[in-house]
């Protein structure tokens, strides 16, 4: 470890729970303010559901906060308020689009669909329950290392689930959903967590081997050819996701995760180059060979060609929002397809403008950077890798979906973390935040005088089990 990093470890231990509570109050205030604002502009009155909404979001946030106070007092104080704010704003915007869709339905003489916002609040509650389970049950993240291969298998199964006939459904061009008991799930969201655990556990053990240098080329130490097996498998799996589930986003996410963790554990930039080339080559091959991948790219290159295409409608909404936005309740986000799920970022950009969108991206950035900071401060390699993996999965996912909606890259079916309508993603993201908080608690907790167990010992212990 470098000299600079030792300074990070020597933080004066403070719990900062009071700061977290203050930030939570602000986050809840902003969310409830947005909700009330929408009610006033659209319905000319403070909506009757404000109490339900405020109590729901507030109570859940406070429960999460109390759990941290008692079970993870040294956890990062910024992560929870950021997540609450995104979740709260997301519900408010889903409610806003509910109202817009109801107006349109009424104008066309149809009965409006049932509101989605209460559903999303219910899912928030489920998410907080999982959050509590993670915080209360996993008292030490290092115990997850024992589950390395179980997690790997679970991740793979979850990844493949949408491909099972009768279970998986094609939605919006991608096959990343399953339908079970009348409800839709996106198993990829949980596969992501399982795979991070698996990659971390695997790399803790194998990183020494993978660090061994092979040829030196253009100033880079390339790995030995015989060590290319793992990256090859990850590549094939991610290409499989791209081809069979036709989702560039998920594919990029899983392969990117593996690559980042490989890079962090070996510190060999050569892996990034090899991986990047492999992915680019595979993606280009898929683009040339498979119609659905090709269509995604042409839709991206010329979104204006498709009449009523969701990207086109979304871009129009964003342009209409301009720099300052139309104001909450004053745009037409409902005019965009999937304005509550895939395209929710476009809804925010329309009503809150470029200013609001950048604020939201900054909150995501804050979560990512706090996650990576947790990784820096973490004392064991396994925890470092998990924190890095979770934080970078967040970064990649935000980049892929926001980039897709704003026309930077081809659109894919990934969920906008914490904001998009959809239970699976929301619940999984709460689990991710809980894990990051759990690791950060350990990272920031004052060290006990007893000599810490070295990473290698734990790794050996896992192997001998």
């Amino acid at each position: 470890m470098s000299i600079a990093s030792t300074s990070v470890i020597q933080i004066i231990p403070r719990t900062r729970r009071g700061v977290e509570l203050l930030l939570l109050v602000i986050a809840i205030g902003v969310s409830v303010g947005a909700y009330v604002n929408i009610g006033i502009t659209v319905q000319d009155t403070v909506p009757a559901s404000t109490g339900y909404y405020a109590a729901g979001i507030g109570l859940l946030a406070v429960i999460a906060h109390l759990a941290l106070r008692y079970r993870a007092p040294y956890a990062d104080p910024v992560l929870l308020p950021c997540a609450v704010l995104l979740n709260g704003l997301g519900v408010a915007m889903i409610h806003r689009v509910d109202l817009g869709l109801a107006v349109v339905a009424e104008a066309n003489g149809r009965t409006p669909k049932s509101a989605a916002a209460p559903q999303q609040i219910t899912w928030t509650a489920v998410g907080i329950v999982l959050f509590l389970v993670v915080i209360l049950v996993i008292r030490d993240h290092r115990r997850l290392q024992a589950l390395t291969y179980t997690a790997g298998l679970a991740g793979l199964v979850l990844l493949v689930l949408p491909l099972i006939p009768g279970l998986g459904v094609n939605l919006n061009g991608a096959r990343i959903w399953i339908r079970l008991a009348g409800m839709s799930f996106q198993p990829g969201e949980f596969a992501k967590i399982c795979l991070v655990v698996f990659f971390a556990g695997y790399l803790v053990v194998k990183r020494d081997v993978l660090t061994l240098a092979g040829h030196r080329f253009l100033g880079l130490d390339l790995p030995r050819a015989r060590d290319l097996g793992p990256i090859g498998i990850a590549w094939v799996v991610s290409l499989g996701v791209l081809v069979f589930e036709s989702d560039l986003g998920s594919s990029l996410l899983f392969f990117g995760l593996f690559l980042f963790l490989l890079y962090v554990s070996t510190e060999r930039a050569g892996w990034l180059i090899i991986g990047g080339l492999l992915f680019a080559g595979g993606a280009y091959f898929a683009y040339q060979t498979f119609g659905h991948v090709h269509r995604r790219v042409t839709d991206w290159l010329d979104p204006w060609a498709i009449d009523g295409g969701q990207v086109k409608l979304g871009l129009m909404g964003q342009a209409w929002g301009g720099i300052l936005g139309r104001g909450l309740g004053q745009g037409h986000p409902e005019a965009t397809l999937y304005a509550q799920s895939d395209m929710i970022i476009s809804s925010f950009a329309e009503e809150l403008g470029l200013t609001g969108l950048i604020a939201i991206i900054l909150i995501y950035t804050l979560i990512v950077e706090r996650g990576l900071r947790t990784a820096l401060g973490c004392r064991d390699i396994f925890g470092k890798l998990i924190a890095t993996g979770l934080a970078m999965s967040f970064a990649l996912q935000v980049f892929v979906i926001v980039g897709g909606v704003t026309g930077l890259i081809p659109l894919t079916g990934l969920a906008t973390p914490f904001m998009a309508l959809g239970g699976t993603s929301l619940v999984a993201n709460w689990a991710i935040i809980a894990l990051l908080l759990r690791i950060s608690d350990q990272a920031r907790r004052p060290q006990t005088p007893a000599a810490p167990v070295s990473d290698e010992t734990i790794a050996m212990a896992v192997q001998t089990q």
Partner: protein, 484 residues
Amino acid sequence: MNSAIRRLAVAAIILMLALMANSTYLQAFRANEINGRNDNRRVRDSQFSVNRGPILIGSTPVAQSKPSNDRFKFQRTYASGPTYAPVTGFYSYVNGRSGIELTMNSELNGSDPSMAFRRIIDVISNRPQQGGSVTLTVNAAAQQAAYDGLAGKTGAVVAIEPKTGRILAMGSRPSYDPNLLASHDLDKVGAAYKRLDGDKSRPMSNRAVQELYPPGSTFKLVTAAAALSSGKYTPETKVKSPAELPLPQTTTPLVNEDGKNCGGSNNATLTIALRYSCNTAYGSVGLELGPDALREQAAKFGFGERPLDELSGVAASQFPGDPNAPQTAQSAIGQFDVRATPLQMAMVAAGIANKGEVMKPYLVQNVKSADLKTVSETKPETLHQAVTPEVAAQLTAMMVDVVNNGTGRPGTITNVQVAGKTGTAQTSKERPPFAWFTAFAPAGDPKVAVAVLIEDANIARNDIAGGTLAAPIAKKVMEAVLGQ
């Protein structure tokens, strides 16, 4: 290991910065282009929901937005819709806009740059955007007279104030009710538009400016103007005016309508020839002058340009490019390929009335913002000096003679001296001829110039003559302006 994590942290920030940069480009720099797209429903919806300013005649609205209890918040309504439809046009959610509603859209909905200050105040004080008002030059009594006069006929009327170019009346029939297209019942709007668009009588066409017709004998005013301006003619110059004028290069002669010579003479003066509207006389003058002199004179009256930019689809009147001798003779009497809008023929009369100075016609008197501050006021503008004041005076005298002693008698107004010219234009044997009358009054101090065209009056063929059909309508419109 930590240095790798730090690099990833930087990489993550770069990804986020890329998102922000891309969105900045989209929402700050490309927004205008995307908002202007035709298929952008958001912009259309929001503009449709704006408290759009009224279109006014004096202080009376002929188009205004009234609050409505549906998703569009405001309902556009047109008082006496069909009367003013050629001017106001319509404002439809489904079928777009036309007329002043189209050309003055940004002023009416308040998004015009000239109203930016007002808009900022609205935003700060949290008031909804309010559009500005557009006041027209149209005279309500004259417009009504034009509309009533055209009842049961297919045709158009344009009245102009000669000194300024203000358009006092612009009627066109058959007309339509813009209220049908502004309705919020979108299915009905679609059906109404389909019906109007498919109607063979083309009620949505503004015949006053959008259609071109052979001007017939009213064009003799242009030929006379060219002759007098050439210096080779005076109103008393005698010209060849037989019953049949043999033309070079063809065996078909040019004939007078009644098959006789001109007022009993084979050598009538220009004045007499105009009084009886002799084709052979003006045909021979046209041959003498040549097509270039005629085209030049026509251009000075406004032929070849779109004289009005406040309406869309305004047609440019035309004089044929390279006619041979018989075609030149035909052109000199407003036949062959000479084509003019009723607006253009009104401009010819107005130019003569205004001492030869043709004013640029305009419909919009002023634009006011929602707080009644004048944003713009139209100033009269000279289009061309068509003839000298002397020639204009000579032409006026000749036109007075037409009304007092000749074909224009039905245009006479008690106690007011009218100057005018009739026209009857044949296109083909199958369809009835076009009846024209163009005039101004009072001849000594002109307050109004008018042109009337009747395309199809549903009466027997031999009754068609500008004097009997079109002149009474012109008379009513002029009387309305003069307050008689």
